[in-house]
Amino acid sequence: MPELNPIPAADEAAVALDSVCKMYKRDRQRLVVLDGINLSVSEGEFLALMGPSGSGKTTLLNLIAGIDRPTSGSVVVAGTDVTALSESALAKWRSRSVGFIFQFYNLIPVLTAVENVELPLMLTPLAKKERRERALSALRMVSLADRGRHYPKQLSGGQEQRVAIARAIVTDPRVVVADEPTGDLDAKSAEEILDLMQTLNEEFRKTIVMVTHDPRAASRAHSQKYLEKGVLLKSEQ
């Protein structure tokens, strides 16, 4: 089995946002995308973020993943205040602590499935052989070990997304964020992806924050939170 280790439950929240605001300036206009967000996601929790288009879900996810910075407030993920990190430290932190799953998979087309999964490991001091072994383990986890040499264009959408999931977990991050991971898939493939995410959460206690429009996808999560016009409305357990 892969080298993914179950994370023991901890008292501290895996994700903690305190009074987070995100504002964009367009010409002379200020556009408030997130307004005073307070959010806590426990270690090993599976959270679904829902809301209409333009409500700020993806922006919130980007803040949690450390690929964007808030205008104000603090974002603590996997024990690190990401707002305090420099650009290079933030990149390093992302490579170790967060796995990102995109809606459109975003695999590198010139790389095979196993090379795509291996990509995050290129930033580690691991030797080539070990990198390859870990990548293959991750592919085995998503039941695609036999497609390692296939290029993304030779895979179906569901398979591509599974490769993307393998890429997200290959570095064994504490937190996995997913931006509408089933948004581009048919119902069957979507179910398979959700099963996989549930396995990651339940067996390996990965903390998962997933943005989705799909109530069926959201129902797989432990809890759901709704965003509207940049404000967290309510939560359901």
Partner: protein
């Protein structure tokens, strides 16, 4: 090093674009190396004979000087030796201009003494000097026509005043060698024969196209040139004396400042290729917004992304440079057979891309790659992940 396969995979992905860009760079490096090799040969060629002057008719080479001038020139202080040298324009068959080669009628004894560039074995030299119908030929010429010592050939001049009732007969007395290291650009494709033979064959009407004048010190070139020309200032046939380098540079093929022109062409080509490559790299980066965003999301630092794109561009430059160098090394020997260009290049046999020019060519290829990739890689460096993902 671990990212090299990643870089090469990207280059291979768009192999038509990568290939054509590498070919463009290769062509640039090939042109640069070829032109610079030619320029180096030219410089070496022009730099020779600093102790030699050439006296000719002050109007044109078409007009000739009286033979009597030779003794007067030889008497000028500082002059060591004088030799007549007339371009003969001899051909084996006047209807086959492609077979043409350079041939001169010379006063052999003094000419060979002042031109150490033409190396002859002593027995061949002796045989040549003793046989009025004898001639010596360069090694390359001998190879071209499969001539050997003892062979007899006939030449007919394409200059009307040198035409005789029947072609002149020559016996090959020797095959001269050259030292291209010491005397770069020395022509190995010339035939020299005795001026006396020409003069007699034309009924003593050959006269003199040029006097080759050897002087004791290069520094005296200006003074002696003036002194020679002053001798004939009030005569019907005035002379123009100049150093051999000036004379060579004033010939048709070297008209104007050829070296500056060649360098200008090389620069223009390089700049054009730089723009082409920069455009290619910009397109490559524009197409990969999402990929750059993904790399950064996965934890690739801005600097690493910059190096990956720059590496791709430099790899293209290196690929092009190496191809261009190989092309240069292999094709430079073909140039003499290319129409028009061959006429110029043929005068510089044994041209080969010297290591210094090869290194500069390689450096230029890498620099073109670096320069072309700089702007796109900086854009990728600065781009924020969220902005890049918005392009999806």
């Amino acid at each position: 090093m671990r990212f090299l396969p990643f870089i090469f995979k990207h280059l291979r992905k768009n192999w038509i674009r990568s290939g054509s860009t590498a070919c463009a760079i290769a062509l640039c490096i090939f042109l640069f190396c070829t032109l610079q090799t030619f320029v180096a040969s030219l410089k070496g060629f022009l730099g020779q004979g600093t102790t030699r002057l050439i006296t000719r008719h002050n109007v044109s080479l078409v007009f000739r000087l009286p033979n009597a001038y030779e003794a007067k020139i030889a008497a000028v202080p500082g002059v060591e030796r004088v030799a007549v040298s007339n371009y003969f324009g001899g051909m084996r068959d006047l209807s086959k201009p492609a077979d043409a080669f350079t041939n001169f009628a010379i006063e052999a004894d003094s000419f060979l003494a002042m031109y150490p560039e033409f190396i002859l074995a002593e027995p061949e030299r002796k045989a040549f000097l003793e046989d009025q119908h004898g001639c010596i030929i360069g090694r390359a010429l001998a190879e071209t026509f499969h001539w050997k010592v003892g062979d007899t050939i006939q030449l007919e001049s394409n200059i009307s005043s040198y035409r005789t009732a029947r072609p002149l007969d020559f016996v090959i007395s020797g095959i001269y060698q050259t030292d291209q290291v010491r005397y770069p650009g020395t022509n190995e494709s010339v035939l020299f024969f005795h001026y006396k033979y020409l003069d007699e064959a034309t009924g003593r009407k050959a006269r003199v196209s040029t006097f080759r004048v050897e002087i004791a010190h290069p520094r005296q070139a200006g003074v002696i040139s003036h002194a020679i020309d002053d001798l004939f200032e009030n005569s019907d046939t005035q002379t123009h004396t100049e150093t051999e380098a000036q004379y060579r540079a004033s010939l048709g093929i070297l008209g104007g400042n050829l070296i500056v022109l060649l360098n200008g062409i090389a620069l223009a080509v390089m700049f054009t290729i730089l723009l082409v490559t920069a455009n290619t790299m910009s397109m490559a980066v524009r197409e990969r917004h999402t990929e750059i965003a993904v790399l950064k999301t996965l934890g690739f630092s801005n600097r690493l992304v910059l190096f990956l794109i720059l590496g791709e561009s430099v790899a293209l430059g290196a690929l092009g440079a190496v191809t261009g160098l190989l092309l240069g090394r292999s094709l430079i020997n073909v140039l003499p057979n290319v129409p028009v260009i061959g006429d110029v290049v043929r005068g510089f046999p044994k041209m080969n891309v010297p290591p210094q020019i090869g290194v500069v060519g390689l450096g230029i290829g890498l620099s073109v790659g670096l320069g072309a990739g700089l702007f796109p890689s900086l854009l990728a460096y600065r781009a924020r992940i969220t902005e890049l993902l918005r392009h999806v």
